[in-house]
Amino acid sequence: MDIDIIELSDTKARFVLNDVEPAIANGLRRVILAEVPTMAIDYVNIYDNTSVLFDEQIALRMGLIPLITDLESYVLPEDCDCGGEGCTRCQLSLNLSAEGSKIIYSGDLLSSDPKVTVADEKIPIIDLRERQTLVLEAVAKLGIGRKHAKWQAGVGCGYKNMPVITIKEDCDSCGRCVDECPRNVLVINNDKLEVTDPLKCNLCKLCMGICDIDAINVIEKPNSYIFNIETDGSYPAKELVIQGADTIILKAGQLKEILSEIE
């Protein structure tokens, strides 16, 4: 196994994963998309709502606000000692109290835990007019993306095969493949066809189709994948990938433990 990191920022990761089975790469993709626990608002007590939106619509908007997740202080409600009833180990509350006229943003939510706050303070919730008020208490819990998209930490996670582009000696540099390529991967430099950035290639093979003399060839490199991961802000991208791996390790460990009991 080998990893080359191409780009790594707080919200995005892009890396090449070499020499792994397709099933392992897909396992990693699936776990990041749907199984890494994150914090999201799950229950909303609305004390006063004289805005133009129904309570349910506001509750949905609250649910979709990404919250910075702290897995050390919180556990999933189903794994909690309280049995999911709700305690300080498995939930926290966020309060909002606002009066018009102004736009209410996610940053106006006051969290009871300074470690768990909104990931982005500039998400508009509602535009309140004069004399309209909104007072509510929101309860946030940990959950997984398989249950609801609001608990999805990796909002964009996918991979493609690593392209290998080979140009044969008999290429006459006619330049038709350069015009045909939608990703501008090819370029003619000093009367010679060259590949600028093979990672940009999306393996559409239009260049192969347009070439009369079959001088260009594009293939997928086996067991090599370019991963693209984007987070909603609940974890930094690096943390999300590591949490993804940890989640699978935990699952495999649990399976082994239960099997040992059966034997």
Partner: protein
């Protein structure tokens, strides 16, 4: 996670794995098949929301439960290796 053993003989086992999906089972199946003592390993999800996946393993010369345990060890190893490698490269 909960397991329900549906059938078990010396060389075959059929287990229902409650609350799991392709995420774990597809990787596990691939690793089971890389074991030369495993003759057949597959799983089936009849319906993605109303039924639970069923894993079927057929082996020779080894208890199928042992083979699954070894495969889950291998899965842990693979992801530990990935995690450490990613952590090293990301910290550089």
């Amino acid at each position: 996670m909960k397991l329900k053993v549906i059938d078990k003989t010396d060389t075959e086992v059929r287990i229902e794995i409650v609350d799991e999906s392709h995420t774990l089972l597809n990787s596990l199946k691939t690793l089971l098949l890389s074991d030369p003592r495993v003759e057949l390993a597959t799983y089936h999800i009849e319906h993605p929301t109303i039924t639970e996946p069923i894993l079927f393993v057929k082996t020779k010369d080894v208890d199928p439960i042992v083979a699954i345990k070894e495969a889950s060890d291998k899965l842990v190893e693979v992801f530990e290796e990935f995690k450490n490698l990613f952590n090293d490269k990301a910290s550089m």
